[in-house]
C-alpha cells in the first residue's frame, strides 16, 4: 500500500467518523397507539432522507408520559427533543413558555391545510406551538342491522331523546346486547370527556364567567340524570369500569347497539380483522338536546411539540414537519392503504377521493370535527376554552375527582344529587384555592 493510498483511506475514515459524530439524535416521547407505532416503523424513510439525524423513541402509557414529560420540562431536564401531547396541554404549556413555537416547519409545509378547529386549539397568539399528528371528535357508532330490526332510522341530526328511546328498543339482555355503551371509568380523559360533552349538549357548563362552578345548575342535574338512567336501562353490566378500550371490545364483539366515543374508533370497529360487526356499522353526529343547538364540542388531537429545554430544536422541527405533512399521509397510504392514514388533521385528506372511497367514516368524522368549536363549548358564555375538558392546569386533578363522584353514580354507590353536591363543593374549594374565585 502506498503512502498516498493510506492517506486517502485515513481521510475517508476520518470523514466517516466525523459525519457519524455530527449526526444528531432526537429523542421522541410518545404514546402507544396504532398511528404512533406505524410512524415509528416508517421513521427509516425520514432518516434515509436526513442521514444527519437519528431518532430514538420512548413509548409510554399516556398518564406516565404526561408525568414524565411534565417533570422533565419543569426541571429543565432536556431529555426529550419532541413530545407527544394533547390539545389540552398545548395552550397551557405554551403560555408557561415550556414549548418552542414551530416556526421552522419549512416553506413546503402547508399550514393553511390544517383543519381550522385543530389549528386554533394549538395556537397561542397566532403562533403554532404543536403540529397535529391525528385528530378526533366524537360521534355515534351504531349497528345498522339492529336499528333495522327494531324499525328505527337514525336521523341526520339525532336528539338525546331519540337516542335514549332507540337504546332501550335495541337492548336485548337475553343475547347480551346493550343498547348503549358509554364511558364510565373515572378520569378526566375517560368518563369526564363524555360527560362534559354531554353536558355541553344539554346547555350546561363547568364554570360561569366568574369561574363559579355550575354543578348546582339544572343543566348538570338533567344531563347527569339522563346519563345515569341511560346506563341503567340500556348500558352494559359494570359500565362504571368501562373506558375507551373496554367499550371498543364490547362493540367489536357485537355487544353494543350504539357507542358514542372518539371518531378514531371508527377505523377499529370497521376493520374486519378485529371487528365481528365491521360491515354493520353506521355513523351519526354527536346528539344534541331538543331545543339546544350544540353537539358537545368534543375535540382532541395528539400533537408533536418541541420542549423549550431541547438543544436540537432545528432537527426536531424538521422531523415534525415530515411526520405531520401531506407527504407522510401519502407514504402511509402507499404502504398500508388510505383507511390507515392518521385522520383528522388536514382538509385535503377529506377531499381525497381515494380516502373517501376506502374510509366510510371519512365524511361523518369531518362533519363531527367541523361541528366542534372549543372556543365556544356551550351555549352559555364561559371563561375557558376546551370542549370535553377545561383548558386550565387544575382540570386534570379536578376532572378526575369529579369523574370518581360520577362513576360512583353509575356503579349505584351514590345518587345524582349527592354526586353533584359533592362536585360543587370540591370544585368551589379547588377553584378558590387556585385563586380563580376571589
Amino acid at each position: 500500500m502506498t503512502l498516498k493510498t493510506f492517506l486517502l483511506g485515513a481521510c475517508s475514515a476520518m470523514a466517516f467518523v466525523a459525519t457519524a459524530a455530527s449526526a444528531e439524535t432526537l429523542t421522541i416521547a410518545t404514546v402507544n397507539n396504532g398511528d404512533m407505532v406505524r410512524m415509528q416503523g416508517l421513521t427509516s424513510e425520514f432518516t434515509k432522507a436526513n442521514p444527519d439525524i437519528q431518532v430514538n423513541w420512548v413509548t409510554l402509557e399516556e398518564n406516565v408520559l404526561r408525568e414524565r414529560v411534565t417533570t422533565d420540562i419543569a426541571a429543565n431536564g432536556g431529555q426529550y427533543d419532541i413530545v407527544t401531547i394533547g390539545n389540552y396541554e398545548v395552550p397551557i404549556w405554551a403560555k408557561q413558555k415550556w414549548l418552542l413555537p414551530l416556526d421552522g416547519l419549512g416553506d413546503k409545509y402547508d399550514m393553511d391545510d390544517l383543519l381550522p378547529a385543530i389549528r386554533g386549539g394549538l395556537s397561542v397568539d397566532s403562533k403554532l406551538y404543536a403540529a397535529p399528528f391525528y385528530g378526533e371528535s366524537a360521534m355515534i357508532m351504531y349497528r345498522k342491522d339492529l336499528f333495522e330490526k327494531a324499525g328505527l332510522k337514525m336521523p341526520e341530526s339525532p336528539t338525546w331523546e331519540f337516542i335514549a328511546d332507540a337504546a332501550k328498543k335495541i337492548t336485548d339482555r337475553d343475547n347480551d346486547v346493550s343498547g348503549m355503551c358509554l364511558r364510565g371509568k373515572a378520569g378526566w380523559g375517560e368518563n369526564m370527556a363524555f360527560v362534559s360533552a354531554l353536558n355541553n349538549s344539554f346547555g350546561g357548563r363547568w364554570f360561569d364567567e366568574n369561574w363559579k362552578p355550575q354543578f348546582d345548575q339544572p343543566e348538570w342535574k338533567a344531563s347527569l340524570q339522563f346519563y345515569a338512567d341511560l346506563m341503567k336501562e340500556a348500558g352494559p353490566a359494570g359500565a362504571s369500569s368501562n373506558g375507551f378500550n373496554e367499550n371498543l371490545t364490547l362493540f367489536q364483539q357485537g355487544k353494543c347497539g350504539m357507542w358514542i366515543d372518539a371518531t378514531v374508533a371508527a377505523s377499529f370497529v370497521s376493520n374486519p380483522k378485529d371487528s365481528k360487526v365491521a360491515d354493520k356499522v353506521g355513523y351519526a353526529i354527536f346528539p344534541s338536546k331538543e331545543g339546544v343547538k350544540n353537539h358537545g364540542n368534543w375535540l382532541w388531537s395528539w400533537n408533536l411539540a418541541v420542549p423549550a429545554s431541547s438543544q436540537k430544536a432545528e432537527a426536531a422541527q424538521k422531523f415534525i414537519s415530515w411526520a405531520t405533512s401531506k407527504e407522510y399521509t401519502a407514504l402511509v397510504a402507499s404502504k398500508e392503504g388510505w383507511a390507515n392514514v392518521p385522520p383528522g388533521t388536514r382538509t385535503s385528506l377529506y377531499k381525497n377521493a381515494d380516502y373517501q372511497k376506502e374510509a366510510a367514516f371519512a365524511a361523518p368524522t369531518l362533519a363531527a370535527m367541523d361541528a366542534a368549536d372549543i372556543t365556544k363549548p356551550t351555549v352559555k358564555p364561559v371563561p375557558y376554552t376546551g370542549g370535553q375538558f377545561v383548558a386550565i392546569p387544575e382540570f386534570q386533578a379536578l376532572g378526575t375527582t369529579v369523574g370518581q363522584l360520577f362513576s360512583a353514580v353509575i356503579a349505584g354507590q351514590s345518587t345524582v344529587d349527592d354526586a353533584l353536591a359533592a362536585a360543587q363543593a370540591t370544585a368551589t374549594r379547588d377553584m378558590t384555592r387556585a385563586g380563580y374565585i376571589k
Binding site: 429523542t27 416521547a29 404514546v31 402507544n32 397507539n33 396504532g34 407505532v37 415509528q40 416503523g41 430514538n56 423513541w57 420512548v58 413509548t59 409510554l60 402509557e61 399516556e62 406516565v64 408525568e67 414524565r68 417533570t71 422533565d72 419543569a74 426541571a75 429543565n76 431536564g77 432536556g78 431529555q79 426529550y80 375507551f244 378500550n245 371498543l248 371490545t249 367489536q252 364483539q253 372518539a262 378514531v264 374508533a265 377499529f268 378485529d274
Partner: protein, 274 residues
C-alpha cells in the same frame, strides 16, 4: 415431643398449599396463556385455551428491541445488589456486634425511609440527577436502586448476623484477625445462606422496580419495566401483546427464582425456628 400428623391431615394441608400456590401463580400463568392468543381471543372473555400463536412475541420484538432493556435489567439489578452488599455487610456487622444506644433508632429510621411515597422526592432526585448528568445512565440508576433497597438489605443481614455467636468472632480476634479479616474470612462464610437469600431478594426487587426505572430513563438505561410500560395503549387492542411483553420481561427472574428457591426459603427462614 413431636406431634404425629395423620395421612388425612397431610393430604388436606397439601391440597391447601397447592390451592394457595395456584392462586398466587395464576395471574402469571394467565399472562402466559394470553400471550399465546390473538388480540381477538384475548378480549373475548375468560379462556384457558389459547390458539397457540407466537405472533405477539414476534410483534413485540419487531416493534421494540428486547435485548437492550434485558441487558440493562441484568446490569442494574446485579450491579445495585453487589453495591448494596458491599455497603450493607459492614453496616450490619457494626449494628449486630458493636451496637450502641442508638442502633435500634437508626435501624427504624432506615426502615422508615421505605414508608415514604417515592413520588414525594421525585423532583429533587430528578434535579440532582440532571445536575450530575446521571439521567438515563446505568450508573445513576444503579446508585438509585442501591439506595432504595439498602434499608431492606441491611435489615436482613442484621437479622442473620444476630444469629451468629459473637464468641466466634471474639475468638478470631484473639487469634489476631484484623477487622477486615474477621468480616471477610469468619463472618461472611458463616452467613452465606443469609447473604445469598438477601442477594437473590435484592436482585428480584431491583428487577421489578418500576417507578424510578421509568422516571429516570429514556432510551440508554431503560430496563424491562420501561419495555413493558411501552406496550400499554390508550386507544386500541393490546392485551395479548402486553402479555407477551410481560412474559418476556418476567421469564428471566422467574427462572432465577425457580432454581434458587431452596436457597431463598432457607435464607428467609434462617433463625426463624429455634
Amino acid at each position: 415431643m413431636a406431634r404425629s400428623v395423620s395421612t388425612g391431615q397431610k393430604i388436606g394441608w397439601s391440597i391447601a398449599a397447592w390451592v394457595v400456590a395456584l392462586l398466587i401463580f395464576f395471574p402469571i400463568l394467565y399472562a402466559v396463556i394470553t400471550s399465546l392468543k390473538t388480540e381477538q381471543e384475548a378480549i373475548a372473555g375468560f379462556s384457558l385455551i389459547p390458539s397457540g400463536t407466537f405472533e405477539n412475541y414476534v410483534t413485540v420484538q419487531t416493534q421494540r428491541d428486547y435485548f437492550k432493556p434485558f441487558m440493562n435489567s441484568v446490569i442494574l439489578s446485579v450491579g445495585s445488589t453487589i453495591l448494596a452488599l458491599i455497603i450493607a455487610i459492614p453496616s450490619a456487622w457494626a449494628m449486630a456486634f458493636a451496637p450502641t444506644k442508638r442502633t435500634k433508632d437508626i435501624l427504624m429510621w432506615m426502615l422508615s425511609t421505605k414508608m415514604m411515597p417515592s413520588v414525594a422526592v421525585l423532583l429533587p432526585i430528578f434535579i440532582i440527577f440532571r445536575t450530575f448528568g446521571l439521567l438515563d445512565s446505568r450508573v445513576g440508576l444503579t446508585i438509585m436502586l442501591t439506595l432504595i433497597n439498602l434499608p431492606i438489605v441491611i435489615w436482613m443481614l442484621y437479622t442473620y448476623f444476630r444469629e451468629i455467636p459473637g464468641e466466634i468472632l471474639e475468638a478470631a480476634r484473639m487469634d489476631g484477625a484484623s477487622l477486615w479479616k474477621e468480616i471477610v474470612y469468619v463472618l461472611t462464610p458463616m452467613a452465606v445462606p443469609g447473604i445469598a437469600s438477601t442477594l437473590l431478594l435484592n436482585i428480584i426487587l431491583a428487577w421489578n422496580e418500576a417507578f424510578w426505572t421509568i422516571q429516570l430513563t429514556t432510551t440508554n438505561a431503560a430496563p424491562l419495566t420501561a419495555f413493558i410500560a411501552s406496550f400499554s395503549s390508550p386507544q386500541g387492542l393490546f392485551w395479548a401483546k402486553l402479555s407477551a411483553a410481560s412474559t418476556m420481561a418476567i421469564a428471566p427472574i422467574l427462572i432465577l427464582g425457580w432454581f434458587s428457591q431452596k436457597q431463598l426459603v432457607r435464607g428467609l427462614t434462617f433463625g426463624a425456628v429455634k
